[in-house]
Symmetry: C6
């Protein structure tokens, strides 16, 4: 018999930190909500694909709120080990005591576990999710010789930015195949302006100008710019305008300087901004 | 005299987590069951070769159930060390206490130990199994200066995906030679459709359509696709259909997006799907 | 509910070490003060871009004094880990006790946290700031399974020297996009001389001579010199003159020898100095 | 005065795990037994050279039984450190306590220490044996500031597979020079058949067929095959036949699939097998 | 308020090991004493540049004696970490106790801290000195969340051998700019002979012969010899002569064999020596 | 005042393990004994240069016996750290306790410390000896903030095999310059035969034959053989002959097989041996 995980109905105070109390603002742009709900219904692992700053993190927060599930988010990085996810023994006054890692906490308690940019992590962290993402739905806690059966409500979600992958850093085929994938991109102009108005508190015409500037910068992607301005950057510019900074200065500070160190590209972006004002 | 391992008949509660209680669904496709039973009869180590998602893990679970042996599964990864398999001293209130690793647990108690994708592990983990996989059948616990003689029921099983090997990562000849190898591949169309029906709960025509799509995608392997759709992915698509998603959307989400980031390949796969609907 | 961080008005003695009591001398050269105040108003993370020794560190100290916020400065380096920033368990007489790292201290207490030359740090330290630099403003203390909500006064500031970046060492796009960026460069001649007079206590003509020498050396950047003399180096030369060393010796010791090992470049710089005396 | 090691005649219960009670089957193929005895007489270190699976490990077990010496075998690997061999301090309830490693155990108690594939180990493990393999016969336990004089019965044996060496991984000249070397290869056909009969329990004609197959596969070495079938593999095939598997299936599973992933080579081997049946 | 460091006048017994009681022999060769005193007057960090064995270490010992300051010398190396300099928590019977590293000891007590060959150290050690070498003069003890304000007498001195630098190992511009640099080279012949007489106790003509030999060997630098004979090597040769070895043998042993393994270069050096005798 | 090290005359029981009681056989081949005595008289550090197996280790043992000094020998390797030489804190029942490393033991007690093949060690171990090998003769125990003044009898000796050095692994100039160097090579034929007779207990003609074989093999150095047979190997062959093995078999086992894996070279060596018998 596997170790028991908390029953579905019990309130687990350890997860209070991880519950989303207020509805996070999310402007749906396609079928993504329905697809996620169907995947969650089958407890199928989900991969969110798309560029940085287009709303993947906000979407998963929204879905966790919608599905009334706690959300355990882990920002992955290249020094993260399986133990950081699963847990480890810590030395206490009474000897070593086991401390669940964030993944184990989610598996045990029926949370959604969101591994942000999992491809950055070391390979052992991706292997550790294999037995959780097929029909076994188990997490072997090897250091304890225990096999943890996932709570019926547990689901695993990962994000993945295709533009960042390389030969050295990519998910293995045997990992990718386990996921249903939902693709994200920047929203249409009207929707994006609506988001900027809602998030930064600027007037609609300012938001529309910012979106036009973003579209121009996105066209420069691959022509000396690694990525164009994201929705997040437009919101930053909007905040500065709302704080009394002029629109052209706000664009310089929030849209140009953060993403380029090259004088020519900086001039090109500044000119593109001037043309939109 | 070697340290004694548990006698064959004793019930070992430490292994309860590792017993397979219910028969795992497995659709035999050749002589693999008989070959495994003969190898187990001689306690010969077995290597399961084949692509990802074709049923190797399910097969070993089925055989463990069939042979009524507990199954200790370890997903190997490049940061796994010999100590992760064999065990280590942990600091307790009363000083250091030895904790068996999963391999030692299996050796001591007569379980089948399944090392999944062992080639990913560091070399020390493959060397540690050498004395277990020849006629000595011993596991030296060097940190304890103890030599553990394997339980008579112990068997070692590893999986190996030939497509993943490289010059840098391959098993040493002196390791490979110790194993009997059983080759796996995707099942025939009729059998694969039967599996999708049974696992995802879709109707036979849907399953047959999914298998036709899989076969097309497998033909693209080597032409821009690292691997085609596996049986596991067909089951994922089936689950989404069962959850109310349209068949074309389910294929996009479960068969196309997880395995390609390339726009052209995505279009090719989508066209192939459309042709099968 | 998230773990509570100290209320805004409470005096936190743990931060006494980090308060700037006396106004640090800072000579404004553009809109940087207003831009920083607007960004701080929105608690937007700020990136200070510019060459070494042009006053970025002094600027952030000045702003912390101006905004009456404690300043926690961390000089990043390639062996810095996320744990160095976030904190770790230390073994105490009563077992393991959690010790906040400098970032956690700032997040919890509402300080400005200044990560100097963050690009030098290992990637895990840049990922750890992601959830602090979007609208979540949370710091997951993964080892404690705690989510720390940032104090309302907390702000993150980083410095970034574009000249130092390489393919191997650069911030990820998903990091850069989160920041408003303020560009720094060497001040105009008159302002720079004013700074040298104020800081080194030399007479105006000496300061003006030093600035003329600096400008010549900056023209040699890219012609065998990695960087020209910075304002900081002029102040060093001024201090030596104030201590009784002749101006040409002071220039040799403070402006020439520290930045070049090449005999020809040394002669060129010495000649440039002689021409300015 | 050096620390005393156990006198020759005393029974050392710590070594009970390491005594060879039953005579291990070994079929001599040349002068190797006499050479080893002469080397042991002078307590000269011995290097066993030869391909994998040809009987080096069995030979050293046989000699240990013959010389009535306990045998401490260590499978070397690239993460093995000198401390793994020599020993380390472990934290106990009463503070740190020294634990002998397997080499120190053998040196102290007069066992034969067999370092299998020592070339795989990190360099510090080969250096640690230098003072044991010249006339000093001492093992400095540097962490204890103790010098352990070897028991008069101690001998060091290493194995070495010339085919595996590379520029990066080879023994240093100053290490090699200390050893007497005995060369091993596959036995003659008649002897090898005799071994297969004895070990796998098959009839002589089956064993002779297996040897003919092995000789064909050994001819393919260097023509797409890293190594041919070893004696160990023939025994594996024999065991499967004894377990009821047909001879051609047993050859496929035990001789072909473990050593090649290449379809052409697999066909060539299968054809060679068919020709021998 | 910063943590208090010892007042200027207090006698600190912890530093007794580091006081220079006797005047170290130092033969001044230029303005270096006055330059160092002016830099120390402004507590400006100083970089000593020059080849090995020309007296940099002796100079800093002399200046420490002259300025009546304790001298904490640290020989840097590539495995040195910031913790080695700053300090760390050690586990004591009463839990973890902080132990100052040598840099912290010097900062706290007002010693001169001399980091010998700092470029060899890992980058984190150079970053740790940044806040000590600008007007802040603070050392953040990040592991303690303490900011240590430097004692008014503290000064930092580093040595730097331009001939050793490479692209991989060089100080960062942002580090170099913080220092006043004093250049060292071998002394003039008369002064160097005077030093050899004084240090090795040989007669003046022997010393003059050794200096002539050294000058010849220095001309071979770059023509197959990495560096010529240093003043230190001449003193070594002098000591051997004083111990009864013939002058030509002493030169072979102290000037030739230590710096070349090449037979031709050895012959060239031996011929040069013969020509001077 | 520096920490006191034991006075010259006191008997130090900690060093009993390290005293050479019996005169080690050493056959002088030149001025090496007088040179070493002169260097020891000035406590000058000594470097022994020469190929492996020519008697450097035996020489230093002989000198230690002759000078009546304990000898602390450390075999260096690439994983050796400064702490392995200097010492470290170990956790005891009463907290952390400092344990001297072998170098510190020698420095404190006035032993000769012999660092064998120091070039193999990591750079930090070579830097740690710098302050011991100039006129300071101190060893900073940085982890203890203690400066240990060397015992008046302490001397440092290192060995160095010029044939092994590479760009990646060589002593730094600033290290080499500190040593007097004594060159070693194989002895003349008559002396070498005398050594073999004395050490292996064979008759003079056998020894002379072995020396002739060695000279032939040394001529093959650089023609496919990394090094020829050393004196140590001749002694090994002699031991086997004394143990009843024929001379040609003894040569094969002790002189040929250990140093070559190449069939052609093996034949060439075997032919050379046959020609000498």
């Amino acid at each position: 018999m596997h170790s028991t995980s908390g029953a579905k109905s019990a309130h687990n105070p350890a997860l209070d930190d991880f519950r989303i109390i207020q509805e996070p603002y999310y402007r749906s742009v396609g079928h993504e909500v329905a697809l996620f709900e169907a995947a969650y219904g089958a407890r199928m692992p989900v991969m969110l694909k798309g560029p940085t700053g287009c709303g993947k993190t906000r979407f998963v927060e929204h879905m966790a709120w919608r599905l009334k599930r706690p959300l355990v988010t882990v920002s992955c990085h290249e020094d993260m080990t399986a133990s950081d996810l699963v847990g480890r023994y810590l030395l206490d006054a009474d000897g070593t005591v086991w401390h669940d890692g964030p993944l184990t906490l989610a598996v045990r308690s029926g949370a959604i576990c969101y591994l942000d940019e999992i491809v950055e992590a070391r390979q052992d962290t991706t292997v550790v999710i294999h037995s959780l993402t097929d029909d076994r739905r188990i997490l072997p806690l090897e250091k304890k010789n225990e096999v943890l059966k996932a709570h019926p409500d547990f689901q695993l979600v990962i994000s993945y930015n295709p533009g960042y992958q390389s030969v050295l850093k990519d998910l293995k085929e045997s990992t990718k195949q386990r996921f249903a994938a939902i693709a994200f991109t920047y929203p249409d102009a009207a929707i994006e302006a609506e988001i900027v108005v809602s998030e930064a508190g600027v007037k609609r015409p300012v938001a529309e100008t910012l979106v036009r500037i973003a579209q121009r910068s996105r066209n420069l992607k691959g022509h000396g710019l690694e990525e164009g301005a994201s929705t997040r950057m437009l919101i930053n510019a909007g905040h500065l305008v709302a704080g009394g900074i002029t629109l052209d200065q706000a664009c310089e500070v929030a849209l140009v300087l953060p993403i380029t160190d090259d004088a020519d590209m900086r001039d090109a972006l500044t000119a593109a901004i001037a043309a939109c004002l």
